[in-house]
């Protein structure tokens, strides 16, 4: 989850790593444990059932709880968002949510051009943790289908496809240069080619405006 704090500190991360290391103790792990009690020993008694896949009902419950949360009311009201995925989340002791049945819901809000990353406490029926940020989560299945549809409708793409070429896969893509639209905008790259053969063509699709922004022969990608 890209908190603003963690993104900001990331910019200096690699430089920090260059700091000289100090020698380990002779046995490499010889530092005496702190006097305080070992507060995390109960990670050994975690309930494996908390990691189980969410049931359809739990998934529905998590989504309902999220979109009723006031903090995302604008997203729910405008209704231009995609749920990327909903998966179980397990928090370690001694966190207060440890032992709770949790769902992590990741969505992309097109209206605000932002990612929504939420932890829903299914036991309590509340959104226990919410991050709204400019990160780019993976593509949803719907977005993959939209990208293919947009690419297949584009005359530049159709004009370059050869007989037997189909969409092989859809990749979550982001540009290297600020001059590229896909640098900052949510984008997908659709790879075309024969079903059992090599790629022939790549179409980059801007998912916000649903238009093709680049058409590149695969060998020139």
């Amino acid at each position: 989850m890209a908190t603003s704090k963690s993104v900001a500190k990331g910019a200096k991360g690699k430089a920090k790593a260059k700091a000289p290391a100090k020698p380990a103790k002779a046995n490499g792990n010889g530092k005496a444990p702190p006097a305080k009690a070992r507060k995390s020993a109960d990670v050994e008694f975690a309930d494996p059932a908390l990691f189980d896949p969410l049931t359809p009902g739990e998934t529905a419950d998590a989504l309902r709880t999220l979109i009723e949360d006031r903090r995302v009311s604008s997203m729910a009201k405008v209704g231009r968002y995609r749920v990327i995925c909903t998966e179980p989340l397990v928090v370690k002791p001694p966190h207060w949510m440890a032992g709770h049945r949790l769902a992590r819901v990741v969505a992309y809000d097109y209206a605000a051009d932002r990612a929504v990353d939420a932890c829903v406490d299914l036991d309590a029926g509340v959104v226990a943790h919410l991050e709204l940020n400019k990160g780019q989560p993976m593509l949803s299945r719907d977005e993959e289908a939209i990208a293919i549809s947009v690419a297949m409708s584009d005359d530049r793409v159709r004009g370059k496809l050869e007989l037997g070429d189909t969409a092989q896969s859809v990749m979550h893509y982001w540009g290297r240069s600020p001059n590229e639209l896909a640098y900052a905008r949510r984008s997908a790259a659709v790879i075309f080619g024969r079903a059992t053969g090599h790629a022939s063509l790549i179409a980059v699709v801007d998912l916000i405006d649903q238009q093709v922004t680049q058409v590149v022969p695969a060998e020139l990608w």
């Binding site: 998966e87 370690k92 990160g135 993976m138 896969s169 540009g175 290297r176 020139l220």
Partner: protein, 269 residues
């Protein structure tokens, strides 16, 4: 009622499940009855491309990275569980167009653990590089009171702060380059890179809220994950998460299997 897939073989007891985007996740893994791993997964494999050019002002990499999740939408067939001499392994194949992978988790009865990824498929052209990202949340005898060390200048050196630690070519007599040590039990998790992985490890203090992201992509212009999680927090005596990142250039010798050898040492029976 639990839907957990639990396996107890070769001195190991662990659970697994197929995720939406991070391949096969292993969780709550014990070796000889002692907790070793809270959770381990393969959050993503990014791919970037280079263009061969003799022009001086031509950028070798003109496009950015891309990726597709390894999980429920790309798996080919079931997750396989197989015994082998001295251990048990899980494997699953994933495909997305010209990219194909087999993810492996191998558990040996001597404490070795092999989270690997075999990469094959032609890609869109020959000049491309894979970057598999493995994430491990080891909890040796409890979550806290751990430290991170790397082998440097002929000896193990304690690392004070979060950071990015590339393989420099130096390793101990067993080939290990990084390790997570536990103060209380004096046990350690040792990591040996594949010598052709061009590997690096990100050592990060564990925080709730910094769970494995559903994409390497953070905001435009910002560092991708896991670098975006790296700050200046102390590691000594904390709960850690480690990311092993390999950089594998496609060549004619593919398929190639990336990933570290991991070995648990020093856990009391």
């Amino acid at each position: 009622m639990s839907n957990s897939n639990v396996i107890q073989e070769a001195n190991w007891k662990f659970h697994w499940r197929l995720t939406e985007s991070a391949g096969i996740m292993i969780y709550l893994a014990d070796y000889k009855g002692k907790r070793v791993l809270w959770e381990g997964s393969l959050p993503y494999v990014t791919v970037d491309h280079q263009r061969e050019s003799l022009e001086v002002d031509s950028a070798a990499e003109t496009h950015g990275q891309w990726w597709t999740p390894l999980g429920t939408r790309t798996i080919q067939g079931p997750v396989r569980v197989q015994l082998f001499r001295g251990g048990v392994e899980l494997s699953a194949s994933f495909a997305s167009g010209p990219y194909q992978y087999t993810q492996l988790w191998r558990f040996h009865d001597d404490g070795r653990l092999c989270p690997w990824l075999t990469i094959y498929g032609p890609g869109v052209h020959d000049s491309h590089t894979y970057h598999p990202h493995f994430r491990f949340d080891f909890d040796l005898d409890g979550a806290d009171e751990d430290a991170f060390e790397r082998f440097e200048d002929g000896r193990w050196q304690r690392v004070d702060q979060e950071g990015w630690f590339p393989y420099s070519g130096e390793a101990d007599e067993s080939g290990n380059v990084w390790r997570q040590v536990d103060f209380g039990s004096r046990a350690s998790i040792n990591m040996r890179p594949h010598s052709w992985d061009d590997a690096e490890v990100f050592a990060i203090r564990y925080h709730d809220g910094e769970w494995a992201p559903f994409s390497p992509r953070s905001a435009a212009g910002s560092q991708p994950f896991p670098a975006a999680y790296v700050g200046a927090e102390d590691l000594d005596g904390q709960d850690l998460s480690l990311w092993y990142v390999a950089h594998v250039h496609f060549d004619q010798s593919f398929p190639y299997t990336a990933g570290p050898w991991i070995k648990v040492e020093g856990l009391a029976k």
